[in-house]
């Protein structure tokens, strides 16, 4: 993966994690994930007249995370516009637009605010393709900023991936860095299937030196972001940073940690993940969502089904607690950390 650097950018919501200043190699451009997503939308809008972008505050304001900054001014009202504050209406009308041949990219302002659209997503967006025997596909991308780490107030830090991954008919992906953000969003928009595009809020301001347009791995493939021999950490979104930190710390203790960034939650790249687990014989899944009934359970269950006899120990889950996401001043206690990951690995008999 291209080298990651991070810099300190004021988050649109307070309490954001502060990060290292950027040192950028010549010839490339330091790009935040928010800027990469913005570029992906701009390029898609430019290349395909059927791409439209709408949602709440995505016009003049440029989105609460500035992901759509400047697009309304550049492409005008017929391509990028602010709409009423009603998520079922947003997804429902996006479905109708897709039925007429457009490729809508809509934004749910925060994870929990996708819930009013639940019926439209689960009963229509996910099912229309199979319902019509493929005669009516819905190339709709639903962008959802998700998870915590930015000191958000209630409903602004949910990790809702389990709801979407449990829904057949949806493709669910989540980038962990700017270059994937660009590449995967372009691919999601080009896909004829509906895509739930999960954007890890706390990573919006992480930046990377990258030249655009960048095409990384296919959207549905996982990536080994660090190789190791002793244990595989399976992560996605904000969890990748935690996993890499844990790997770094582990190395200091002679623990050789391999880190896999899933990138795609549904479909799941069994091949890449199982190959890593076969090699290391041990694995742990990391995510912010509450552990019970989480997507991490699917990861642990399916990898164990396939690799039971190469596993030396049960697959562990380092996740949020089984509680509603805490208030800003307490979220730190709920978020997985490198220390917590390493402590969990210590519970194994080695």
């Amino acid at each position: 993966m291209t080298m990651l650097e991070e810099n300190l950018v004021p988050s649109p919501t307070p309490g954001t994690v502060t990060e290292r200043p950027p040192q950028q190699p010549a010839g490339t451009k330091a790009l935040t994930m928010a800027a990469a997503l913005n570029a992906a939308l701009r390029d898609a809008l430019t290349e395909d007249p059927d791409v439209v972008v709408f949602g709440e505050d995505i016009g003049a304001l440029g989105g609460v995370f500035r992901v759509t900054d400047g697009l309304a001014a550049e492409f005008g009202d017929g391509r990028v516009w602010d709409c009423p504050a009603a998520e079922s209406g947003i997804v429902g009308t996006a479905i109708g637009m897709a039925e007429y041949g457009m490729r809508p990219v809509v934004e749910m302002q925060f994870d929990a605010f996708a819930y009013p659209a639940f019926q439209q997503i689960a009963s229509h967006l996910a099912k229309m393709g199979s319902r019509t025997k493929g005669r009516m596909r819905l190339p709709v991308v639903v962008r959802i900023p998700y998870a915590g780490g930015i000191g958000g107030v209630e409903h602004h830090s949910d990790s809702s991936e389990a709801y979407w991954t449990a829904t057949p008919g949806l493709t669910v992906v989540t980038p962990s860095n700017p270059s994937d953000a660009y590449s995967m969003l372009r691919e999601a928009i080009a896909s004829d299937d509906p895509v739930i595009f999960l954007e890890p809020k706390s990573r919006y301001w992480a930046s990377e030196s990258v030249e655009l347009p960048v095409h990384t791995l296919p959207m549905t493939k996982a990536r080994v972001v660090r190789t190791g021999e002793d244990v595989t950490l399976i992560a996605y979104g904000s969890g990748v940073k935690v996993a890499l930190e844990a790997a770094e710390a582990g190395a200091a203790e002679d623990l050789s940690v391999e880190v896999v960034d899933l990138r795609s939650l549904s479909p799941f790249d069994d091949e890449t993940v199982c190959a890593s687990v076969r090699k290391t014989g041990r694995a742990a899944v990391i995510h912010e969502a509450a552990g019970f009934g989480s997507f991490g359970a699917e990861v642990a269950a399916r990898v164990t089904e396939r690799e039971f006899f190469s596993l030396e120990a049960p697959i562990l889950r380092i996740t949020g607690f089984d509680i509603p996401f805490p208030a800003a001043k307490l979220e730190q206690y709920n978020l997985p950390s490198a220390e917590r990951v390493l402590a969990a690995l210590d519970t194994w008999v080695w």
């Binding site: 017929g78 039925e99 069994d270």
Partner: protein
């Protein structure tokens, strides 16, 4: 002011006040509607019967609501789209979807089995009012592309309570999307009567809150329904924005075969509405106006019988379904997991000799 009416309950031309400025449709249009209503009635009765015989999983009869189901379809142009609800099988039929396409859902062959783009008819949508938003989105998309397309969609009195109904009205009016909402107020949401569904004097009143035209129409008067819907459709096409039309009608049959209306309504009530039959009303008017004669009536009756018997044959023949197709349309993209699961079912079927 009562519902708009062009033909009164006795089949006579209604007074100017009741007409509220709307013109009587041409004889040609009315004859076409008469024909479609007659075909629809016969189809509906046949399918209801087949459902009682267990040939279909379920069916939501349109009996008594033919004016609301058929007249709006007659007001559409070929490029327009229709977004039906669970009650609207006969509307789909009138729009040109063949019986097999209409009934696959109800028999349980597949959730939808016709090409929506060929007929400009969306798959029938069950989640109440959810499809209204699809109509608004499609209408807005067409407008953005500069196409003269109007989206027509139906909802019921019960569906009017869903949040999606409001969101659809609001998006349509805010975007001035060329959408026509026809609310068939058939007095019940399964067993729930109007009095427990709404406090509104009329559903047409809802339009006020979106500053769009709202029309209250005698839903058993095909001429009035056509005139008002046609006006709304052309208004929308011309850029005038959406309209909401309430047709006051009645569900003569049970909600579906699994319903028991005797638990919640009296047969007197049903009989009173039977007397207001929309087809008989139109026939009386057309005969009185001298535009409908026995010959035409018999011809249409003959067509209806043919439709009934072909539908009967269609439903009596077991459909050839391939369970492996269950995996083929879930995604446009290939999914390794589904390929594996498809193969697993294939093996299972082979071992069981195709049976399960």
């Amino acid at each position: 002011m009562g519902p708009i009416q062009l033909i009164d309950e006795h089949g006579a031309r209604a007074g100017d006040e009741a007409a509220a400025g709307f013109e009587m449709p041409s004889a040609e249009v009315l004859l076409g509607i008469y024909r479609q209503m007659t075909l629809a009635r016969r189809f509906d009765i046949q399918v209801t019967k087949l459902t009682r015989q267990g040939r279909l999983a379920t069916y939501a009869p349109g009996l008594g609501q033919e004016a609301c189901e058929i007249a709006p379809i007659a007001a559409l142009q070929p490029q327009d789209w229709f977004f039906p609800s669970h009650r609207d099988a006969i509307g789909m039929l009138a729009r040109g979807v063949p019986p097999q396409g209409v009934l696959a859902f109800f028999r349980g062959d597949w959730h939808s089995d016709f090409d929506p783009k060929q007929y400009r008819v969306a798959p029938l949508s069950v989640p109440l009012a959810s499809h209204l938003l699809h109509a608004v989105g499609l209408a807005h998309a067409a407008r953005l592309k500069g196409d003269p397309v109007v989206a027509l969609t139906f909802l019921g009195d019960g569906a009017s309570s869903a949040g999606d109904a409001h969101e659809a009205f609001n998006f349509a009016s805010t975007w001035q999307a060329p959408t026509v909402f026809v609310l068939q107020n058939n007095q019940y949401a399964i067993s729930v009567p109007l009095s427990r569904q709404t406090h509104a004097r009329s559903f047409a009143d809802r339009a006020v809150g979106y500053d769009m035209p709202g029309h209250l129409v005698d839903g058993n008067d095909p001429a009035a329904v056509y005139a008002v819907v046609a006006h709304a459709v052309e208004r929308a096409r011309a850029g005038g924005g959406p309209s909401l039309i309430e047709g006051v009608t009645y569900r003569i049959e049970a909600h579906t075969n699994s319903d028991d209306p005797t638990r919640y309504r009296s047969s007197d009530e049903v009989e009173a509405w039977r007397a207001r039959d929309p087809i008989a009303r139109l026939e009386t008017y057309l005969r009185g106006a001298g535009v409908l004669d026995d010959e035409f009536a018999q011809h249409v009756a003959g067509e209806a019988e043919e439709l009934a018997s072909s539908t009967r044959d269609l439903m009596n023949a077991e459909p050839q379904l391939d369970p492996l197709e269950l995996f083929d349309h879930v995604y446009a993209a290939e999914r390794p997991a589904l390929i594996e699961q498809r193969a697993a079912l294939e093996r299972e079927l082979a071992e069981a000799g195709g049976q399960r």
